[in-house]
Assembly symmetry: C2
Homo-oligomer: 192 residues x 2
Amino acid sequence: MKEELIQFLSGFPELSVEEVNVIAENIPVVSHPKGTVLLEEGQVPNECYFVLKGLIREYRMLDGEEKTVEFYTETNGAISSSDYVNQTASNGYLMCMEDSLLICGNPRVDAVNYKNFPVLKAITSKMLETDLNETKEKFSKFITSSPKDRYLNLLKTRPDLLNRVPLHQIASYLGMTAESLSRIRKRVLFEE
Amino acid sequence: MKEELIQFLSGFPELSVEEVNVIAENIPVVSHPKGTVLLEEGQVPNECYFVLKGLIREYRMLDGEEKTVEFYTETNGAISSSDYVNQTASNGYLMCMEDSLLICGNPRVDAVNYKNFPVLKAITSKMLETDLNETKEKFSKFITSSPKDRYLNLLKTRPDLLNRVPLHQIASYLGMTAESLSRIRKRVLFEE
């Protein structure tokens, strides 16, 4: 299970091979089978996650309907929230949509690791900044795009999702009904 | 001009009164009159900003139309982007909608300040995390909300905006036409 973690950590030029190996031994990695619910509405999260492999869906229950707000995969692995940071009750759910391998953080373990490996703090900070800027850019694109453009953008930026999750969840993630997405997909195919 | 900066820095319990005064002397604050364009599409941003007072609108030009993607004010002051971090050309514009007082950062000044005042790095990192979590929460709300709920949410979370910017910019920020917003506002008034 540590293989993926070592590979992930090796991607940071700030870390030497020795550091990667020592840090990898100190970071908890967990594996969860498809279908595992990591967090439920109303629970106070005591862990945060980073997806090394697999797919986690974040969704909310609104008027009895599941509304998907994010899919976390190997390309956007950091799952945290103000509920974790502020220790408040979650508005939504986190569910493994595939067998998943996750870095599993908690404030106690993080504090020890940051103390022993200060370089980790710098790396986390850089990742936070990247995540913030990507989230802002995605949000801006979402606000300014038509439903069709949102779908085309997803095809371009995260084509793997189409094969990994059901279409009705994609539709919800794009802020439209399954019927609208189906119409758009037919139109796009016809235009090609 | 440093009064607002001192007040802002005093809000961080990590900083002593002496530190606040020394840091305030080393952080550049600029004032720009209403109408100033801080950044244009295609420019590579060499500064990042934090709003101490005033209002900055971020917008994009799409098919000859201005699409507002964010209003930065005293409550969500941090303006940065991947274009600033990665030194790439901006997709959009930043414009002062009011006379504005801004902390003005650049990589050179930031590096010196972080070196001289390491506590600043910790504060910035915490602000980044808060900003990321708030942006994610706002994005999730946007995806899962109807246009009417988006308007009601704005009334609840940022009621000042309604008095500070034209309605057609609010409409665009909420991902709807000015006509739709006008209809929704009438309906909400009627329901009250």
